[in-house]
Amino acid sequence: MPYKTLTAPAGDCHRFTAELSEVVDGGQCLDQSALEHFGSCLRCQAELAQYKKLLRALSNLRGQVITPDDFLLTDILKALDRAGEGWRRHLTVLGERPAFLRGPGAVAATAGAAAATAGAIVLANRLSSRYRLTG
């Protein structure tokens, strides 16, 4: 990988500090005069050290996972559900998800089935009590 080199006029720190964030990333390397400047300039050395620490700290954030709430996974699967017939078939075949995961149609169908069952039970009870009265 070709590197750009920086020239380093002595006592002119700001010209180098502007590039330090790239130096620490390995995108640039210092020529001899820049190395001599950094060898004797505590300010530049301190800034370079700070950049190195900053990059290490940022890299450590990679291992930190922000835990989402429990509904995110459901929402993702619902979004996939809405997006494609194939996915909907997959969810139906699984047969273990609540109706709300299978879309508004499934919710209506489930509610309808529940209402029909309840109605049948009520009707059966009424018929049974009528027969008891008449019998």
């Binding site: 940022l58 890299s59 930190q64 922000i66 989402p68 995110l72 929402d75 979004a79 996915w87």
Partner: protein
């Protein structure tokens, strides 16, 4: 889950297995949410970005060549979705300027005494990140936390490589100045 298991799931998902894709979602969604949150800086927006990212991934899984890891591929998709989302948000919404930034709870899991100090420092870094403008934050998050190449970042954010490098430099400079305002060494333990 080891990399071989993920490769197997990816292969099955490419063949059309929805169970395999769902397993990939279950395995990766917290990580993808974390990236999305770091890019857009808002929980609700991050949720939308994550959903869109998995929709795109589901549509494009057959084109996934496997040159990179599945997680890296998802990171690129998420970065692209977040960039699109931020563009829309900037057009339609004006966020109030606020000094207080809602910092996510990052679960501590080490020695409590030492961990308390580390948490404070980490919180400062996360806070500094969240206070960066989204365009600068996106680049430094993708490069320095998720290790995407300049080329990949430029590609996903729809900018040139040199623009990505300039943004990265500015972002790092702001972070450094914020974490070391008086030359203090505050990120040692982060």
């Amino acid at each position: 889950m080891d990399s071989k298991a993920i490769e197997d799931l990816v292969a099955a998902a490419k063949e059309g297995s929805h169970q395999a894709f769902e397993a990939l979602v279950r395995h990766t969604y917290a990580d993808i949410y974390t990236l999305a949150y770091r890019l857009v800086g808002d929980e609700e927006d991050a949720r939308d970005v994550v959903q869109e990212a998995y929709l795109r991934a589901h549509r494009g899984i057959k084109k996934f060549r496997g040159d990179a890891q599945f997680s890296t591929w998802m990171h690129r998709i998420t970065a692209n979705c977040a960039n699109t989302y931020l563009g829309r948000r900037n057009r339609h919404r004006h966020d109030p300027l606020a000094d207080d930034v809602d910092i996510p709870d990052l679960t501590p899991h080490l020695d409590p005494v030492h961990q308390a100090d580390i948490d404070v420092l980490r919180t400062q870094l996360v806070s500094a990140l969240m206070q960066l403008p989204p365009k600068l934050r996106s680049v430094v998050v993708l490069r320095d936390i998720y290790d995407l190449s300049h080329e990949a970042i430029a590609d996903q954010l729809d900018i040139t490589e040199s623009a990505a490098k300039v943004r990265l430099h500015r972002a790092r400079k702001r972070l450094r100045e914020r974490l070391y305002p008086l030359g203090e060494e505050r990120a040692d333990a982060v």
